[in-house]
């Protein structure tokens, strides 16, 4: 049975491992042919920012992987308008094409899911 799964990405990319390991769940989970959406909210919007350079911190830059999600049939990427505005980011600053949602639309998106995986 196909379920609607929402991956909720709330954190900046390199302060902790949540963002990177969340992406690993998305990639593995893609093999299960579920109805998958990703939502980036709060500091999570920073995960999608263009021009990430991790050489100084010695960590792996995993942001190119977001561009490969389409190959895994993960195509529904949503970003919070309010979270972007609070961080002076707009759609052109992001590494992938996304759908921008306001808070009310985010509430609707979450409401229609069978499960929400929060990272």
């Amino acid at each position: 049975m196909e379920k609607k799964l929402l991956y909720l990405n709330r954190r900046a990319p390199y302060g902790g491992i949540y963002a990177q390991e969340s992406l690993e769940v998305v990639l593995i989970g893609a093999a299960f042919d579920q109805d998958v959406s990703l939502l980036f909210i709060d500091d999570g919007v920073l995960q999608l920012k263009k021009g990430q350079d991790t050489t100084g911190v010695g960590m792996k830059n995993f942001s190119p992987t977001f561009g490969a999600l389409e190959m895994y049939d993960v195509e529904k990427l949503y970003v919070s308008r309010e979270s972007m505005a609070a961080r002076a980011i707009n759609e052109r600053d992001l590494v992938v094409g996304v759908t921008v949602l306001n808070d009310a639309e985010i509430a609707d998106l979450m409401d229609e899911q069978d499960a929400v995986l929060s990272f």
Binding site: M1, K3, L5, I17, Y18, E21, E24, V25, I28, G29, A31, F32, Q34, Q113, D114, A115, V116, L117, S118, F119
Partner: protein, 151 residues
Amino acid sequence: MQGMICGFLGASPWELRAFGTMKFVLQINEGPYQHQASDTAYQFAKAALATGHEVMRVFFFHDGVNNGSRLTTPPQDDRNIVQRWSEMAQQHGVDLVLCIAAAQRRGVVDTDGKQRLEKDADNLAPGFRISGLGQLIEGIVLADRLMVFGD
């Protein structure tokens, strides 16, 4: 419910009876003692089992894999979080699964991993097993509800 992010959709736990028997999958994202997540998840699982619900799987991810180290030795006057989970697995058949990628990063190893990764020790607690992230997704597909416990 401080310190708990809830992926639960619908009723709060104390309303569960009204829905009949439910099948749960729990996801724990934080290590023992450092964070309340594993304690809260345990209390939830205990209450769910006591009221006739099924906890089919607990999936440990991120630092949550540290809940599966049998080398954990808390002071005697404190709860033993790891042992509590092991006992729940033994008594109720709850499937305790550590994410293999997360476990390998953090040095939690079973006997198979000890050989395969050529380590000099293993440390997986009784009742736990190490497997892939597919176990989480499969659990979500099969269960009625996913509960996420984390920061």
